[in-house]
């Protein structure tokens, strides 16, 4: 009780001025508009929320969250757990039913969440208990790869056969976006996850790749396939140029210099108007072609749909882009997995674990660091090249620090060094973030003028803090060691050093 009161007082202090009073523009300057109701609501939510947490979770003899935790860590249930789960399930189903019957979106939303959470948890628990020895991780990876390979083709075929009205354009756009972040995450993973060098300016290489292609294509008319390796090489070169001066720096000094480098690149792109177009960016970047066949209904000569003798459809280009980024992302992954087994990859991991021991074993840390920077940067550049051709337009707006932060967050939230974790984190963060755009349910809860777009970044930030506090080692915190003596056992993320680069 006293604890909740304290929380309410602190909440009042926090929000009294910034939430309780709103500055409004007026003819004579700024005026204040008091919003006592909003302030009171927020403080009340904090008070009762804290009270409920204290009564039922934190200080309770039997925390209400315990059975839900047991659902996912496969501890045995006792009678109380079964009752709690049953009550939760019945309530959830009831809400869902009421929501469906009376058209209450709030109940529908709540009910669906509860039913799905409990139902899927029980199902997972049942399967894991029945078949404890199945290789779940491998099955999951195989399933993911199969899904990624066939998802556009299958949905496209279904749509063109049965006219289901699926929002394919939106799905493809979203999955291309997610795959771009997966590729960027895997690229940065080489630098941060394997070599342990904290790079806060990764987006600079993405920008170098994008602008390299944009400039070459608009000035010299070069095509995507020629520019792709050039963009990768240019970004790798910049990785080395950046790497050289900062070789002596360690840890956070390295972090701030890479951040500064990212900002420098952005500022130069913004102000060097003659070459980069300044804040207007570069438009008119050619769309990709299917090995020379353009995707266009009107183009002269041979086009994609004429060549294959099928009717024109704008989705063809999207599907092609999807497979393009899928191939690029898989290439990143394969190269990483291969490199990890080669001497250079082992040197990266050794350097992450202990730089001094690494040096005393005769490993050249200069070359090791530069190779990590260059390899990571190269994949960033390739992704940038893809980004430029997808958008058809680049501007400095797309390469802000927040992008670097999101990519780094994907790497760390996924579990450093874990390829699977990075992919999952990209889906969760980018996909979940995007899903907030389409939340009629939320709109129904908070009224018509609730604009989810405004709250997207706020929720994104809260999710970053929440996931990290809940699982500090990332979503996938165990992984098989790269090399081992005898049988390789999965090791916990706790045992992997974070690197002080």
């Amino acid at each position: 009780m006293s604890d909740s009161l304290l929380a309410a007082i602190i909440a009042f202090a926090l929000f009294s001025l910034v939430l309780g009073l709103r500055t409004e523009d007026a003819a004579t300057g700024l005026t204040l508009e008091p919003r006592p109701a909003l302030l009171f609501t927020v403080v009340a939510i904090v008070f009762f929320g804290r009270l409920a947490l204290n009564l039922f979770v934190w200080q309770a003899e039997y925390p209400l969250t315990a059975p839900f935790a047991k659902l996912f860590n496969s501890e045995p249930f006792d009678r109380r757990d079964r009752v709690t789960l049953a009550v939760a399930f019945v309530f959830g189903a009831g809400w869902l039913l009421i929501g469906l019957l009376f058209g209450e979106p709030v109940y529908e939303l709540l009910g669906t969440v509860v039913v799905l959470f409990v139902g899927l948890g029980l199902l997972r628990r049942f399967i894991v208990q029945r078949f404890p020895n199945l290789p779940y991780a491998q099955m999951f990876i195989a399933g993911g790869i199969l899904f990624a390979l066939f998802f556009p083709i299958v949905t496209y075929a279904l749509e063109s056969m049965f006219r289901l009205g699926l929002p394919l354009r939106y799905w493809f756009d979203l999955s291309i976006l997610i795959l771009t972040y997966v590729m960027l995450g895997w690229g940065l993973n080489i630098v941060v996850g394997l070599a342990g060098l904290l790079d806060l300016g990764y987006v600079a290489f993405y920008a170098v790749g994008a602008y390299t292609f944009a400039l070459l294509a608009t000035h010299f008319g070069l095509g995507f396939w020629i520019c792709l390796p050039i963009a990768g090489a240019a970004a790798a070169l910049w990785g080395i140029i950046l790497g050289f001066p900062v070789l002596r720096l360690r840890g956070d000094y390295l972090a701030i210099v890479t951040l500064a480098f990212g900002e420098i690149v952005r500022i130069v792109l913004l102000n060097w108007t003659d070459v980069t177009g300044g804040p207007n960016g570069i438009a008119g970047i050619p769309k990709p072609t299917f090995f020379g066949l353009p995707f266009s209904p009107f183009a002269e000569g041979m086009t994609f749909h004429k060549f294959f003798g099928i009717p024109y459809d704008g989705l063809h280009a999207l599907i092609f882009l999807y497979y393009l980024i899928l191939v690029l992302a898989f290439a990143t992954n394969l190269v990483t997995l291969r490199l990890r087994r080669l001497p250079v990859g082992r040197a990266w991991e050794a350097m992450r674990e202990d730089e001094i021991a690494c040096r005393s074993l005769g490993i050249n840390t200069t070359v090791t660091k530069l190779s990590a920077f260059a390899t990571g940067a190269m994949f960033g550049g390739l992704a940038g090249c893809f980004f430029a051709t997808r958008q058809g337009f680049v501007s400095p707006e797309s390469f802000t620090f927040i992008e670097s932060a999101i990519i780094l967050a994907i790497v760390v939230l996924g579990g450093m060094g874990s390829q699977l974790g990075v992919a999952i984190a990209a889906v969760v963060m980018v996909g979940g973030f995007e899903a907030l755009r389409h939340t009629e349910g939320l709109q129904a809860v908070f009224g018509e003028d609730f604009d989810p777009a405004l709250y997207r970044m706020l929720l994104f930030g809260i999710a970053m803090v929440g996931i990290m506090v809940w699982r500090p080692r990332g979503l996938v915190s165990t992984r098989a060691p790269t090399i081992s003596l005898g049988d390789g056992k999965n090791i916990s993320g706790e045992l992997v050093s974070e690197g002080r680069g």
């Binding site: 602190i10 202090a13 926090l14 009294s16 001025l17 910034v18 939430l19 009073l21 709103r22 500055t23 523009d25 300057g29 700024l30 005026t31 204040l32 904290l198 001066p245 900062v246 002596r248 720096l249 360690r250 956070d252 000094y253 972090a255 701030i256 210099v257 951040l259 500064a260 480098f261 900002e263 420098i264 500022i267 130069v268 913004l270 102000n271 001094i356 021991a357 620090f401 927040i402 932060a405 780094l408 967050a409 760390v412 939230l413 450093m416 405004l454 709250y455 970044m457 706020l458 994104f460 930030g461 809260i462 999710a463 970053m464 803090v465 990290m468 506090v469 500090p472 080692r473 974070e498």
Partner: protein
């Protein structure tokens, strides 16, 4: 000469603000070894609290300058300190003994949260404030160019010197400062010798946020406009200042702030204003190449 002198005055003013924020970064780094990415946004919240407190005081009729300024300062420091405390409690304390990148990610997340919270609560537009302190002194005249030091610049430098002196005494002469330095040396040993480590770290955040609030108020008075995004770029500059001076060293943070302020002002005055940030950041890289731990930083001991 006159132009140079004027830029010197402007640079020192800007540098004072950076220095005040840089102390917050450097203290937190010294004590728990993390970059508090949300500190720039704490500064931004301080500026907003000061703005709203100003407007509220005007609304209830308190307009006498010294009194109003003092009240705003107290309110801003107090409430911003609560923000600093809360951020530490929510986002950093649960991860105290986790691996090093975890609190960095929560800090970036917290920074996004704070920025967007203010954007939603107060709107995305630039918030102007009528000039509160006007006037100045003509120092020196050369041809048609007159060097002016405005009252607000005097106020900023004087407040900074005063606050920093007070802060310096606090760190070097009180029990709090002693436990802070003890935690910096070795947190476990400090805990064993009876220092309440959690409390010390909380107080470090509270102190840093208080200094950021002072900086926020001065920034508001000096520029007269703020928006929800100022925390990012000013925060990065202040952090650069902290690294420049040698992160973990409090005199280093003051010196770094001053240098960054001067570099930026002189670059804008004599070269192109668009590239002032590039100049500051490049200078940072160059200094770090020759002094890998900053100007006044202690060399890192390599443990084998």
């Amino acid at each position: 000469m006159a132009y140079f002198l004027q830029q010197l005055i402007n640079g020192v003013t800007l540098g004072s603000i950076y220095g005040l924020i840089a102390i917050g970064y450097t203290m937190v780094y010294g004590i728990i070894g993390m970059i508090n990415f949300a500190h720039g946004d704490i500064f931004m919240i301080g500026a907003f609290i000061a703005l709203i407190a100003f407007l509220a005081l005007t609304a209830i009729g308190v307009t006498a300058i010294p009194l109003a300024l003092l009240l705003v300062l107290i309110v801003a420091i107090g409430l911003t300190a609560v923000w600093g405390w809360t951020v530490e409690r929510v986002a950093y304390r649960p991860l105290r003994d986790s691996f090093r990148l975890a609190p960095l990610i929560t800090a970036i997340g917290m920074s996004i949260v704070l920025q967007n919270f203010i954007q939603i609560a107060q709107g995305a537009r630039v918030k102007p404030l009528q000039p509160v302190i006007t006037g100045g002194y003509e120092l020196y005249s050369q041809g048609s160019f007159t060097v002016i030091v405005s009252n607000i610049q005097i106020l900023i430098v004087a407040t900074t010197v005063l606050v920093m002196t007070g802060f310096w005494l606090l760190i070097n002469r009180t029990a709090l400062g002693r436990s802070q330095r003890a935690c910096e040396q070795d947190r476990l040993m400090a805990a064993l010798s009876g220092v309440d480590v959690d409390r010390t770290i909380s107080l470090t955040f509270v102190l840093g946020a208080g200094l950021a609030a002072v900086a926020g108020m001065l920034y508001l008075l000096y520029y007269g406009v703020i928006d929800f995004f100022i925390g990012f770029i000013v925060g990065i500059k202040a952090f650069t200042a902290a690294v420049f001076g040698g992160i973990g060293s409090i005199p280093g943070a003051m010196l770094g702030g001053l240098i960054i302020g001067l570099i930026e002002t002189f670059w804008s005055a004599y070269f192109t204003i668009e590239y002032k940030d590039v100049a500051a950041f490049s200078m940072l890289a160059i200094v770090l190449i020759f002094f890998p731990t900053g100007l006044l930083g202690r060399p890192e001991v390599e443990k084998v």
